[in-house]
């Protein structure tokens, strides 16, 4: 309960922000197509929610499937690479450098390769989430302390045991740091990829087409849906983190 209470200040900030927004739109009589008031957006959400729900699910599916492929692949690749620290040292700089590559710029090409439907978006999301997860996991697997390894050695542990009982659990905090960050990347990747082309029943296309027609109320409603889905995604992963690492959860580290 005290945990719930700790969210009260943040909730108050949200409410205050919405009130300021509402007031600013009224006081300065801001045109609705420039910035609709929150209550207008909420009404738009209510009126067009069947369309938004369908579009949201469509886009969210891309994000989650791409995320699963990218993060899953990143973890598996890191596990394989960690077997050879020499190989890891070889590929790690490139994997780190890939963070500065705007993978989203490949979205138009992805459409050429994987079609205008979900395939191309999933590919972009997978590519965007693969490298951060790979780098974090590999760092976690290789970053165990020499003392922790000495202990394993003194206990005559096999390579397999060192991996399962030391490297894997030791890497979890870094793995989950990447997994949490990648939920955001996945939503961005899915929505922005759709700006380059996709079916009407997707959030990205909906936002783009309504905004270009100055139907900003609808655009904002869709953005709100994207935000909510992103938050839910992040929350689900954070919850999984607490369940997988109870020794950290008790410490209140999240």
């Amino acid at each position: 309960m005290s945990r719930l209470r700790s969210y009260v200040p943040a909730a108050l900030v949200l409410v205050a922000g919405l009130l300021v927004w509402e007031a600013a739109v009224a006081i300065f009589s801001i045109e609705f197509y420039l910035l609709p008031a929150p209550h207008v957006i909420l009404r738009g959400l209510y009126e067009s929610y069947p369309v938004l729900l369908e579009a949201g699910l469509y886009t969210f599916t891309e994000a989650v499937v791409g995320y699963a492929l990218g993060c899953g692949g990143g973890i598996l690749a890191a596990m394989a690479a960690s077997r050879s620290p020499a190989f890891s040292a070889l590929v790690l700089p490139y994997a780190i450098a890939s963070a500065s590559v705007p993978i989203i710029a490949l979205a138009p090409l992805a459409i050429v390769w994987f079609g205008v439907e979900q395939g191309s978006k999933i590919a972009i999301v997978a590519l965007m989430t693969f490298f951060p997860t790979f780098v974090s996991t590999l760092r976690g697997l290789l970053g165990v302390t020499p003392q922790a390894l000495d202990l394993m050695r003194s206990c005559a542990a096999t390579e397999q045991q060192v991996f399962v009982k030391l490297r894997l659990p030791a890497s979890l905090p870094l793995v989950f740091t990447a997994l949490r960050a990648c939920t955001t990347l996945a939503m961005i990747g899915a929505v922005v990829s759709e700006f380059f082309g996709g079916p009407v029943k997707s959030l990205g296309v909906y936002i783009k087409s309504t905004a270009s027609l100055f139907r900003t109320r609808e655009a904002w409603s869709a953005i709100l849906v994207a935000c909510a889905l992103g938050l839910a995604f992040y929350g689900a992963v954070a919850l999984a983190e607490r369940l997988v690492m109870p020794w950290r959860a008790e410490r209140g580290e999240f």
């Binding site: 302390t145 003392q147 020794w247």
Partner: protein
């Protein structure tokens, strides 16, 4: 009971020593060049002994312990542990080791940390509960078995790591400055506790420290090492009676032995300052008095 090595066994004929090192040399290569960490170190430890190695920081005492434990490969010399090479002894899980830091895995509770060696040795699950519990009882932490390391104090963490080192009934306990990071009050308390654990386990202990009082209080023999390159300067036999309690720290003979060890360390040419005459028996808590 902790027994002096001279009374161990009692059987006639030569009993194979637990640790036998002859002419051990060790060098490390780094960017700064080649460092000779150990030169011609020879030491024999008999079953049931408690032998401490003392010396200033960087004298190679930890390196020697790691050579015995097969964590470092010696460049020269011969080491036998229970009549085997250190590697064979390690693979046979002949020793338990306690490091300066507790090295507890943060994702394991106290009990799970203690049972790690059992899991690694492939012991059946049936043993995973009883033995670790008994060991936690031995170190006085049974009530904390479900606590994670961060919930334990530094002294408690080190006790867990001692319990873990004993998990597989090792014949040798290698301890690398186990109490070096603890405050003196906790250290004194754990010293008494360690002697009790040692006498109950019957293990042979090789103990590295830089505390003179600790070495004298615990040991059957104190090996004094000098640095650069690390070599054995002198071995002081500690003939204080056992069992030893805190009271022994106030006895005259304890001070005399502390002084003897301190003077052995002072004779090290690498250390500055002339020797002041041994000034009474007041210096047990000071590590070095240089005039």
């Amino acid at each position: 009971m902790g027994v002096d090595r001279r009374t161990v066994g009692g059987s006639p004929g030569p009993v194979a020593p637990v640790i036998e090192a002859a002419g051990v040399g060790c060098t490390f290569t780094s960017r700064a060049g080649v460092t000779e960490a150990l030169r011609d170190v020879s030491l024999t430890v008999e079953a049931g002994e408690f032998v401490s190695i003392i010396g200033p920081s960087g004298c190679g005492k930890s390196t020697f312990l790691r050579v015995v434990g097969d964590l470092v490969e010696p460049a020269t010399g011969r080491v036998r542990v229970n009549g085997k090479t250190p590697r064979e002894a390690r693979l046979h899980r002949d020793y338990g080791i306690v490091f300066q830091s507790p090295v507890l895995y943060e994702w394991r509770t106290a009990l799970e940390n203690v049972r790690l060696p059992l899991e690694l040795a492939g012991r059946p699950r049936a043993e995973w509960e009883e033995r670790p519990r008994a060991l936690l009882r031995l170190v006085g932490l049974e009530a904390f078995r479900d606590h994670y390391p961060w919930q334990l104090s530094g002294g408690m963490q080190q006790r867990v790591s001692i319990a873990r080192a004993l998990a597989l009934h090792p014949s040798i306990l290698l301890m690398d400055e186990p109490f070096g990071a603890l405050d003196e009050i906790t250290r004194d308390r754990l010293n008494v506790e360690l002697l009790r654990i040692w006498s109950e386990s019957g293990a042979t202990v090789l103990f590295v420290t830089h505390s003179i009082a600790e070495a004298v209080f615990l040991s059957s023999r104190v090996v004094v090492m000098t640095p650069r390159p690390g070599s054995i300067d002198r071995v002081v036999t500690i003939d204080l009676p056992r069992p030893r309690t805190d009271h022994i720290r106030a006895e005259r003979h304890f001070f005399e032995l502390v002084t003897t060890v301190r003077e052995s360390l002072r004779e090290d040419p690498a250390l500055p300052g002339p020797l002041p005459p041994p000034g009474g028996v007041d210096g047990s808590r000071r590590t070095r008095r240089i005039g």
